[in-house]
């Protein structure tokens, strides 16, 4: 049984409505289905507006989906009562993109990491304190800096605090929403290494939402490509990068800038009119699906 299973997920947003007028309905996520095995890193790629972030948020019910199913360990998350949901969220966590805006600037690092433990009433104060110090060490921070405020840390360190906070409740599943794209280039690799180390150490399952395709190629086991709210291609990372089938995937991969001035480049430009938006996913090779 997969750890996470998303089927026929739909999220509509209403645009341009007013007091007397109903606005146009836009499907940000349009019938999206995929599953993630325990221990896997599953990549969700696509451009801004493709629905990848909304998909992630629907899975944790940070945004309520319009319809569809999200199963976690076989149980339907969308059917959970708010109390059951709170319990389930101990096991499913999210790390946000921007470590500058996702941490409350008025809270000390210790408070930020301790807060989830307090909310979930885990442990007495001394035990919590010890756990927070352990978490700090786990993400490569110095417990001597626990009393500092977010602004006293660098971007990379702030993202480590966000990670410690997400890991405080010992989750098995973590959604990483663009976890390094706001960081300095020279610091990104450190955080990527930390994410890979933690996954091995703690047996984590990741949903990795990103637009940096080089990074996705490096760390994801499987990838799904989203285009205008739909998954247009999905498969093992190596197979999908080596032989993309969907016109959009081809265009996307050919647009990645290659850090080698001598590399040969062949740009494929997408003709949006040529994309059949009603095509359904078909298995084109073992485990490799494309909407053709």
């Amino acid at each position: 049984m997969p750890l996470v299973e998303v089927s026929h997920l739909v999220k509509h947003f209403t645009r341009g409505g007013g007091l007397l007028r109903t606005g146009a309905r836009v499907a940000a996520v349009d019938d999206v289905s995929f599953s993630i095995e325990a221990g896997e890193t599953f990549g969700l790629v696509g451009e801004s507006g493709s629905g990848k972030t909304t998909t992630g948020r629907c899975m944790l019910r940070l945004v309520e989906p319009s319809s569809g199913d999200v199963r976690f360990r076989g149980e339907n998350v969308l059917g959970f009562s708010s109390r059951r949901l709170r319990e389930a969220r101990r096991d499913m966590q999210i790390v946000f993109q921007d470590p500058y805006s996702s941490l409350n600037p008025r809270m000390r690092a210790r408070q930020l990491v301790e807060e989830p433990l307090i909310i979930h009433k885990l442990g007495a104060r001394p035990a919590r304190r010890e756990r927070v110090a352990d978490l700090f060490r786990l993400v490569g921070l110095d417990p001597a800096h626990l009393e500092r405020y977010p602004h006293q840390f660098s971007g990379g360190q702030r993202q480590r605090i966000g990670l410690a906070r997400a890991l405080a409740l010992n989750p098995s599943f973590v959604i990483l929403d663009e976890p390094v794209s706001a960081l300095d280039v020279s610091v990104q690799a450190q955080v990527v290494n930390l994410l890979m180390d933690l996954q091995r150490q703690l047996n984590l399952t990741y949903l990795f939402i990103a637009h940096d395709l080089r990074l996705v190629e490096h760390i994801c086991d499987r990838v799904a490509v989203m285009y205008l709210g739909k998954i247009v291609e999905m498969g093992p990372t190596a197979a999908l990068f080596a032989s993309p089938r969907h016109a959009y995937t081809k265009a996307l991969l050919s647009a990645i800038p290659i850090p080698d001035p001598e590399a040969e480049r062949r740009r494929i430009v997408l003709d949006p009119a040529a994309v059949n938006r009603n095509a359904t996913l078909k298995e084109v090779a073992s485990g490799h699906w494309a909407a053709l």
Partner: protein, 340 residues
């Protein structure tokens, strides 16, 4: 150094005055751009690349100020010009494309009027002719239906289209130098590819020189002829793009290239340890020394000067000092498979 450089920046230092004293955002920076060349200025946030661009345009606002240096454009030192003379250069001879196509356009004016404004300010068109020229420019930057789009407001255009409008504005007066500051950072990767292709085409069609500022080594590899790498306010390495990627001379450049995802999937990346120093608290000696795998005795004494490294590369690194020529840099041993 050949004297036919279009732009020559010499010893430029731009500081920001703070309560604790002046902080150098750009520190003794020297480089040049030949006619028809694309120079890629690469660096992380806070490395001083955008302040360098603003300094060239003389748009640094207080508490920032240009402390020393010369900015020689077509034989004239821009820092000696009075404001009216500088205004005649800005937008006409040198133009700037900003990073954020969402905020760089005025939301309450039609895009056609914003292009026309550039032409009218510099007396390049009459009020009647400006509209026609704006349409022509929109067509040049490949905006479909330019006759219709010219009447659009910025919010009616996508991010990629807005960036095309900004490029049209930058090209309006046929400048000889365009400075593009992270022109594709806010855009999706497929749109980025289109804008980079457009910049390359425009460069050929309008005989431009381009100063391309970015943090993305992939963008540099695809677009630049020569590269200047900035770190903590200084240019630490310069050279032709092929040499920089094939044989980076500064341990920082080597570290950046080696840290990029690549090689066997799932393998740990070769990260640069530590983080970028605060400009107000730079380490003694070379600013990169606390993070440098090749640090040795002289690195903490004084900032290194430019050393020649290879035929046309320079690097601010004591490894290239002939006195220490026998040292084998640690980081150099790690590059070949990292360059991929």
């Amino acid at each position: 150094m050949p004297d036919n450089a279009l732009l020559r920046v010499e010893g430029l230092t731009t500081v920001f005055d703070t309560a604790a004293g002046p902080v150098p955002a750009v520190n003794d920076v020297t480089f040049e751009i030949q006619a028809g060349e694309t120079l890629g200025l690469v660096g992380e946030s806070g490395s001083g690349k955008s302040v360098t661009a603003l300094s060239i345009m003389r748009l640094v606002q207080p508490p920032g100020r240009i402390a020393t240096g010369r900015i020689v454009f077509k034989g004239r030192d821009l820092l000696t010009l009075d404001e009216p003379a500088m205004c005649a250069i800005r937008g006409a001879e040198i133009s700037l494309i900003f990073q954020e196509p969402m905020t760089a356009l005025n939301p309450v004016f039609r895009v056609g009027d914003q292009i026309a404004e550039a032409l009218l300010v510099h007396g390049r068109a009459t009020r009647g002719g400006a509209r026609a020229k704006a349409i022509e420019l929109l067509r040049a930057v490949r905006i479909p239906d330019p006759e219709v789009r010219v009447k659009d407001y910025p919010h009616q255009l996508s991010g990629g289209m807005r960036q095309r409008v900004l490029i049209a504005i930058a090209l309006a007066c046929q400048p000889s130098l365009v400075i593009a500051d992270e022109p594709t950072t806010a855009l999706d990767v497929t749109i980025q590819a289109q804008i980079l292709d457009l910049l390359r085409e425009m460069k050929a069609a309008f005989h431009l020189s381009l100063l391309l500022i970015t943090h993305d080594l992939g963008v540099i590899a695809e677009t630049a002829d020569r590269v200047a790498v900035m770190y903590a306010g200084r240019v630490v390495e310069t050279g032709p793009v092929r040499e920089i990627f094939r044989q980076p001379a500064h341990p920082y450049t080597r570290g950046l290239l080696a840290s990029m995802p690549g090689g066997a999937p799932g393998r740990r990346l070769r990260a640069i340890e530590g983080s970028v120093p605060l400009l107000s608290a730079l380490p003694a000696g070379c600013a990169f020394n606390p993070r440098c795998p090749d640090r040795f005795e002289p690195c903490t004494t004084a900032p290194p000067p430019d050393y020649s490294a290879g035929i046309s590369q320079t690097a601010k690194c004591y490894l290239h000092d002939p006195h220490f020529a026998t040292r084998t840099p640690h980081s150099a041993l790690r590059t070949p498979d990292a360059a991929r």
